[in-house]
Amino acid sequence: MHGIKRERLSEEARRNKKLRDRARIRNYKTLNAMVLVRRDKRDYSEDAFRLSTKLLDLNPEYYTIWNYRREIFLNGLFQDPGDAAKGETAVSNDMIPAILERELKFLIVLLKRFPKCYWIWNHRMWCLENNPKPKLNNELAIVNKILSLDSRNFHGWHYRRYIIGLIESSNGSKSSTNSGINASGTELSLSEFNYTTELINLNFSNFSALHNRSKLIIKIFKKTNLDNQYKEAVLKTNPEFENKLEFLTKELDYFKNAIYTDPDDQSVWLYLRWLLCSNDLLNLSMDDNDNNNDNNNSNNNNNKLKIIKLLLLQIKDINELNDLEKSDDINSLDNKWCLKIIIEIQMTLFDKFIDLLKTNDTNNSDYLTSLITNFNQNLTTLIQIDPLRSNRYLDLQRIYNKRFETL
């Protein structure tokens, strides 16, 4: 049980609850027995259906009854009476869409009362999959509504991606004869990306939206790399998808505003860490044009230098923010999240670019030494200001300093 206050009932309240429970239990057990008896008899009638509605309305977690309900649909309500008379079992009833629409209405009522019940969501998906003409745009509107009420709702996001997937695959099968871009399908990735922008504009501390955004960015870049026509279409509305470096720069600008507004918001920091430290975007050589290039190596090095420059700039910026925070803090403490992300960027530099940092003449050899010193200082500070995780910082110190010995 989640989020229900512990209550201490008085003797009298306990007696009253017991009395009240007695009637409710009798009612529930009778209804349960009636439904189970019908199921044993393979009763797929309207009457059995009505009783299952009553029971699920009392207890939507009762998964066996959802199963029975689906059996009633498949073996009873979906069957054309004419077909049944002829002994045919094929499902050919024109009424199926209407029957399932009615079911979706029942489910919405239940979802309002039990928004976290897996079985209801699951049954909703079953209804769409068994409907020859599902109204997917209606479902998208419903999920918009749900996410506008609770923008982190796990089930809501899951359902949203599921619906988008269904729309994409139905578009895909329709336009499979067309050569070139699968217009509607790809536009969906983009409109979903823009939807995350909308949500983040409302409240940037929405990790669910940031998560979805990360997936969509990768998807869109993969497609723009493969398909020029698609890329042109994307650039018309979203010029930031020109190339990864361009995108990265724009995205960093946008989210830096967010961290200045609330430097303790972990959602945005985790997202920034992804932008700056994962291979997904840093792997710039994956960008088009470079693939069949003769001087791939020098291109690669060029890209790496660009990234190093960018990362060093980020460290500088975050340090500035940290200084501001420090001067605001009554105890002049460093900001935890600033330092946490700085060490992430520093570890990325050590992990991916240590050779260039050692040899490149744009950085004198002292630079690496001072980077290492600063990294160790940051860890020492974090051990003090973030004691819950001090052992992690100690482990990192041990691991990296062992590596530095061999430099």
């Binding site: 206050k5 009392l58 699951n122 985790l270 995780r389």
Partner: protein, 327 residues
């Protein structure tokens, strides 16, 4: 509050009484509404009792006959209650209960074949598992399937390889895992994926163990409790999902144990026993188990040691056949 913290202990006797009484005391309306969780509840209760050193306080024969009465004659799995349909969730609980009671031999060869067919029959071509034939897909079900097969000693390469590839696809930028590819990381899904990988001896599938360890350690909030996702409230059950995951990654020390212990102990019902999701909420057997299991992983309170992969006592799981099988 500060002076109270020193006095807090685990109310072992009260928790034992609370669990033992779940099935015997006056039954409320809510009791009847939760029949669909009875098998899982029995596993949670039995395991908690075992960790408290009191595994004999449930009648072994009663428990076994209840489990057997829940076999689904149609699909071969176990339901949560007699006449409830077989489902992967209740099937794993049933197998765990029998293994904990050292009684898997009450299943005859036909029972075992039915079970294995039921479980394997729920795997889809992409490697995922549905919970039953009605199609709900979730990394939870890969864990329940693989753990069940592992306890029965019936894993096969044919089941293992696609499962690994599905789990691989569920990884996210923060290092965590979601319920399906594309879904946001969640501590419970992280556990089910890591648990599966640990059973299959394939932790190398994880892209970045340090990153995942970091994400997990950030689940600890100021009051010592753990949450399941960023910016969410702490909850005792994550003492299990997060802690067992850290333990599997060999990074158990990356959070503050003393403070987590305080959070769990504050969530006890000091009068009637049981542990709730957070202090002053209503207790239930699920949070009672996961609170105690968390304390056991951190080696507090002299509890019986728990296996972070199977969520069962180590003295039971050490007998399981290890994958890859040698003969």
């Amino acid at each position: 509050m500060a002076h109270q913290q020193h006095e807090l202990t685990l109310f072992k006797e009260k928790h034992i009484q609370y669990i033992v009484n779940l099935n015997t005391k006056d039954k409320s309306y809510e009791y009847w509404l939760t029949e669909h969780l009875r098998m899982n509840g029995l596993y949670w209760g039995l395991t908690a009792l075992y960790l408290l050193g009191s595994q004999n306080s449930l009648d072994k024969e009663d428990v076994i006959s209840f489990v057997l009465s829940c076999k689904d004659p149609v699909n071969g799995g176990f339901g949560a209650f007699p006449k409830h349909d077989g489902h992967l969730l209740s099937t794993l609980s049933a197998i765990q209960i029998l293994a904990t009671l050292d009684s898997l031999d009450v299943l005859n060869e036909e029972d075992i074949n039915d079970l294995v067919d039921f479980i394997i029959g729920l795997q889809l071509p992409n490697g995922s598992f549905q919970g039953d034939k009605y199609g709900e897909i979730d990394t939870r079900f890969i864990y329940t399937a693989i753990s069940s097969l592992s306890i029965l000693g019936k894993l096969t390469k044919k089941v293992v390889e696609p499962s690994l590839s599905f789990i691989k696809d569920c990884q996210n930028f923060d290092g965590g895992f979601g319920m399906v590819p594309g879904a946001e990381s969640h501590a419970a899904q992280v556990f089910t994926c890591l648990g599966t990988l640990a059973i299959l001896d394939r932790l190398d599938v994880i892209n970045d163990q340090n990153l995942l360890g970091w994400w997990l350690s950030e689940r600890q909030v100021a009051n010592g409790g753990l949450n399941g996702r960023p910016e969410k409230l702490p909850d005792v059950c994550y003492s299990w999902w997060v802690l067992s995951s850290l333990s599997i990654l060999n990074k158990l020390s990356w959070i503050d144990h003393r403070k987590l212990r305080q959070f769990i102990l504050h969530s006890q019902d000091s009068e009637n026993g049981g542990i709730s999701d957070r202090p002053d909420n209503q207790v239930d057997v699920y949070h009672t188990l996961f609170g105690i299991a968390g304390l056991s992983l951190m080696k507090f309170e002299n509890l019986v040691a728990i296996d972070p992969v199977y969520c069962m006592p180590i003295e039971i799981t050490k007998k399981f056949r290890r994958w890859p099988y040698t003969e």
